[in-house]
């Protein structure tokens, strides 16, 4: 938007006189701009082919905003039909979201002041591109009671953010009759398969053993589906989707447990990609609220160099949490032989209102069996 008077700060683009693909010469009139004083014709300072328009007729934009991109004759680099460098007005968070959703910010029309692109604009652009998919606007977390000191209520689905976790854990221990089962699983096959498999992968495609554990948990839930559920009001609601919440420690303390959606349907490669993305974003505080409220069960693992066993506290309203300790070398009796084997201790904390020891043990047995056939995961 050129300045058409010393006191002009914004102008409204009335109409375009050229269209993308048109060849223009320096000095050609390409648009009409409406100012407080008059309608003014705008000439271009560049010669070339109009690549695309950046401002739609009717928009009010500040002086200096690029109006269109002109590819100069004989040059590959596009330049803007403005005296200033082309600079996209977009909020930092919207820029991030556009990147995640694969939306080109230059294609998005901004609704903020001066045409600044906001998250909702990017979401709308993504939805328009792919109408089958609903815009990824998060379901609103339930509102906590308004008395300042009150804890979040039991059906609060947004409780997974770290501060709320403190309250959620107290409530969990108060309201959920926990019981705990433990089992040690021989990971010889799984770890050898993983090592072998990683040899053939490029460094950016390598798998962590945690992915095998996650996938196995997801598949074991098909055997004991009542653990993939939430407690709502007075009853348990089973879920068809397996959305495993992954407990992720944040640097400097605290944790979040966002979900990997449809964990059971993802290939190991897809799962690894989703896992890595989730950890990275969690540590940048860049999770979406839908990820926080989605888990149907949680898996926690204290990492590969820590303790043997962890017994988790269930995140309400979920009804179970699976805990993995470190993978450690232990003497293991197999076929009458004592051999050092990599083993992992797995625990299940479950809600006695929903299930019992017999069913829960079936889950751990299924998990063990799945991990003996890593190539099937």
């Amino acid at each position: 938007m050129p300045t058409l008077g010393a006191d002009m700060s914004v102008g409204i683009l009335s109409s375009w006189l050229k269209k993308p693909g048109d060849t223009v010469q320096r000095g050609d009139i390409i648009a009409v701009v409406h100012t407080d004083k008059a309608d003014v014709e705008v000439e271009t300072f560049a010669s070339g082919v109009i690549e695309r328009m950046l401002v739609e007729p009717g928009s009010e934009v500040p002086v200096g905003t690029p109006l269109a991109v002109i590819r100069e004759s004989g040059e590959a680099e596009p330049t803007a039909a403005s005296e200033q460098e082309a600079r996209l007005m977009i909020s930092p968070s919207a820029r991030e979201l556009a990147h995640e959703l694969g939306v080109d910010p230059a294609e998005v029309r901004g609704s903020g002041p001066g045409g600044r692109i906001q998250r909702k604009d990017v979401e709308a652009a993504a939805a328009a591109r792919d109408p089958a998919r609903p815009p990824p606007s998060a379901p609103r977390p339930a509102v906590a009671p308004q008395a300042p000191a009150a804890a979040p209520s039991a059906d609060d689905r947004g409780a997974a953010m770290r501060r709320a976790i403190g309250a959620a854990m107290s409530r969990s221990k108060r309201e959920i009759p926990h019981f705990y089962l433990g089992h040690t699983i021989d990971l010889s096959r799984a770890m050898s398969w993983l090592t072998e498999s990683n040899v053939h992968r490029s460094v950016s495609e390598r798998l962590l053993h945690g992915v095998l554990l996650l996938k196995a948990v997801a598949l074991a839930l098909r055997v004991v589906p009542e653990l993939n559920a939430t407690w709502q009001g007075d009853e348990v609601v089973r879920h068809d989707d397996v959305n495993i919440g992954v407990a992720i420690a944040l640097r400097g303390g605290g944790l979040v447990a966002p979900a990997i959606r449809h964990t059971d349907e993802l290939s190991l490669d897809e799962l690894m990609h989703a896992f890595r993305d989730l950890v990275t974003r969690a540590r940048r505080y860049s999770l979406r609220s839908s990820e926080i409220s989605a888990p149907t069960i949680t898996v926690t693992s204290l990492g590969e160099r820590t303790v043997d066993t962890v017994f988790g506290v269930i995140f309400p309203p979920q009804v179970a949490i699976v805990g993995f300790g470190a993978v450690v070398e232990r003497l293991w009796v197999s076929d009458g032989q004592v051999l050092p084997c990599p083993v992992v201790s797995v625990s299940l904390s479950a809600d006695h209102r929903v299930t019992d020891g017999h069913r829960a043990s079936a889950f751990l047995v299924a998990l063990d069996r799945l991990l003996q056939e890593p190539e099937e995961l």
């Binding site: 090592t195 490029s202 460094v203």
Partner: protein
């Protein structure tokens, strides 16, 4: 590529993985995991970052011998020598 260039490269990658950490205080002769509180995901990201930054693919079998910054520099020096 000199050791210092390699060291800078590794530190650049680490800075992206552990934002906010004071890498000037990092002891090159002590383990990275304990000093920076990094886990296996971070370690994988380190390997990926090194691959992008220095074009060296560190096989998983080498992870055990790569604990300290000095280990990385030594290991990478052997694999980048003569490449530039």
């Amino acid at each position: 590529m000199t050791d210092d260039q390699i060291r800078e490269g590794v530190l650049r990658v680490l800075a992206g993985i552990v934002p906010g950490a004071d890498l000037t205080a990092l002891r090159p002769d002590l383990g990275l995991r304990d000093q920076l509180d990094i886990d296996s995901m971070d370690y994988l990201n380190l390997a990926i970052g090194i691959h992008e930054e220095l074009q060296v693919d560190i096989p998983e079998s080498a992870y055990d011998q790569l604990e300290t910054l000095d280990d990385f520099v030594r290991y990478l020096a052997e694999r980048t020598s003569g490449s530039t």
